[in-house]
């Protein structure tokens, strides 16, 4: 009895492992396909512009909202900790560095994964189950080049821009809370910011956001193309795109941080 249960357990672990390795292999193939198709004409600027507008402009409001409140909260939290050791003048620089290196790219990435990653999976998934993807192929149009490439390029370019907006409004929020509510001297706040914040911090955040943007779109479009079984499948694909998009941002953030700290 116990042996049979153990055998079943080993089988389940084995098949889950094989499935995950296969999935990883498929995503790698999917990425290689991008580098193949991105260089091949026709270049679809209109589709790119539409996606860039959707991912960039349409995410702007939520990015501004999230960025400003994150900056304000960070200023409060840092202030009360730093006041205990009498270094409250460093609030501005600490918030700015945290935002530049971590919070702006990661939180922007999570927002875009939830918003645009889900939309990509749902749009392509719906096209797949309603045979619109097949229709493209029958016409002689590569569905990957038509649907995935513009989305991946748009997301890769839009996310660093959104991250910069997040960083800017976050710092504005932090400055307002720091100087108006917490009464930190304005000149002190700004001089410490200039003293401790370096261009490398900014570059680190932009590199991270670029990688996250690429990955979120790859995952969103991958799950869209792999949708099966009608509306239920579209829902499942969308859900997987959001979950794996967010997990990838968080996990990759660790590896990118450990790498970039050494090179920048």
């Amino acid at each position: 009895m116990v042996t049979a249960q153990f055998k079943k357990f080993i089988e389940a672990v084995g098949s889950a492992t094989i499935e995950n390795i296969q999935g990883l292999g498929n995503i790698c193939q999917f990425i290689f396909k991008f580098f193949y198709w991105v260089l091949k004409p026709p270049f679809r600027f209109k589709l790119f512009a539409e996606q860039f507008y959707f991912i960039g402009n349409k995410s702007l409001f939520i990015i501004i909202l999230a960025g400003s409140f994150t900056g304000m909260v960070m200023a409060y939290q840092t202030y009360f900790g730093f006041k205990l050791i009498n270094v409250d003048s460093l609030v501005g620089s600490v918030v700015a560095i945290s935002l530049a290196k971590e919070l702006a790219p990661v939180l922007s990435g999570l927002i875009v994964a939830g918003r645009a990653g889900a939309a990509m999976a749902a749009q392509i998934g719906t096209m797949k189950v309603t045979e619109q993807v097949d229709a493209l192929e029958v016409m002689g149009i590569d569905s990957y080049q038509y649907l995935a490439v513009p989305r991946i390029i748009a997301s890769t370019i839009a996310l660093p821009m959104l991250s910069i907006v997040f960083l800017f409004v976050g710092n504005v929020g932090s400055f307002i809370v720091g100087t108006v509510a917490l009464l930190i001297d304005e000149t002190m706040y700004l001089s410490k910011l200039g003293e401790f914040m370096f261009i490398g911090d900014l570059v680190q955040g932009i590199i991270k956001a670029t990688v996250f943007g690429f990955l979120i779109a790859v995952i969103g479009t991958y799950f869209g193309f792999n949708v099966t079984k009608g509306a239920e499948g579209v829902g499942k694909g969308t859900n997987l795109a959001v979950v794996w998009g967010m997990i990838s941002v968080l996990v990759l953030d660790y590896f990118l941080t450990s790498f970039l700290i050494q090179v920048l």
Binding site: T130, E131, Q132, D134, V138, M139, G140
Partner: protein, 249 residues
């Protein structure tokens, strides 16, 4: 049945998915400028056969030749270009839901011709009129069109590049009897309008009544093989028990 200079020639086509054989050493040819229907039960391999004709699936063994070209010998880019010889009406029309009716029809011309925007729209409108779509519906999104209208728009889109072969995948599935008749009449009408340039029509169906009414030739596919292939009048008299069972259902 063998034809001289056929539109499609299939020789010893076998397709396996893992251990499961879907098409089993299948050989037959489809004549040019005729309506040929491939009938069969669900799961008989009709859709897989269609995907081989389109070059979307690679055979496990055997060859598929379309208009004298062995699809295996074409590299992926050439195969993509070659597919412009096909037009297809999908089961549920498969219109792009973000485009209007006229944009759907103009889309293949935008991708593959040098027509100006005005020329594309004019040609798309003419095609829509030719399949019976009224001007008021030109700007309608697919979600705003009825099932029958979507099929008409899908057919117009399939005809946009003047294909040599027009494929119909279960064209009447899910339609009411009046719309079914309308779609069948449209298939015959389209075939006759394009007969001067030798357009071949291939229908994948399990609608026996419609098949016997509109086809020139009927092939019956069962478990991955053609078990009967005759001109329609002879097909009606077939003594094959499977065919008789299907006809008399």
């Amino acid at each position: 049945m063998k034809f001289d200079n056929p539109a499609i020639e299939i020789n010893n086509l076998t397709k396996q998915f893992g251990k499961h054989t879907v098409l089993n050493n299948l050989s037959f040819s489809i004549p040019k400028n005729k309506i040929t229907t491939i009938l069969g039960f669900s799961g008989a391999g009709k859709s897989t056969l269609l995907k081989h004709i389109l070059g979307l699936h690679q055979p496990t063994s055997g060859t598929v030749s379309v208009l004298g070209n062995d699809l295996k010998s074409l590299d992926p880019m050439k195969l993509r270009e070659f597919r412009q010889n096909f037009g297809m009406l999908f089961q549920y029309a498969a219109l792009f839901d973000s485009m209007t009716a006229v944009e759907n029809v103009a889309f293949p011309m935008k991708e593959f011709t040098d027509f100006s925007y005005e020329e594309r729209i004019k040609k798309a409108q003419d095609l829509l009129i030719s399949v019976g779509i009224k001007e008021v519906s030109f700007g309608g999104l697919p979600s705003e069109l009825s099932g029958g209208m979507r099929k008409r728009v899908g057919l117009a889109r399939g005809l946009a590049l003047n294909p040599h072969i027009m494929l119909y995948d279960e064209p009447t599935t899910g339609l009411d009897p009046i719309t079914t008749k309308m779609v069948n009449d449209l298939i015959v009408d389209t075939a006759s309008k394009n007969s001067d340039r030798g357009m071949t029509s291939i229908i994948i169906s399990h609608d026996v009544k419609a098949t016997l009414r509109i086809s020139d030739f009927v092939a019956f596919l069962d478990r991955g093989n053609i078990v009967e292939y005759l001109p329609v009048e002879e097909f009606k008299k077939s003594t094959n028990p499977l065919v008789q069972e299907f006809i008399n259902l």
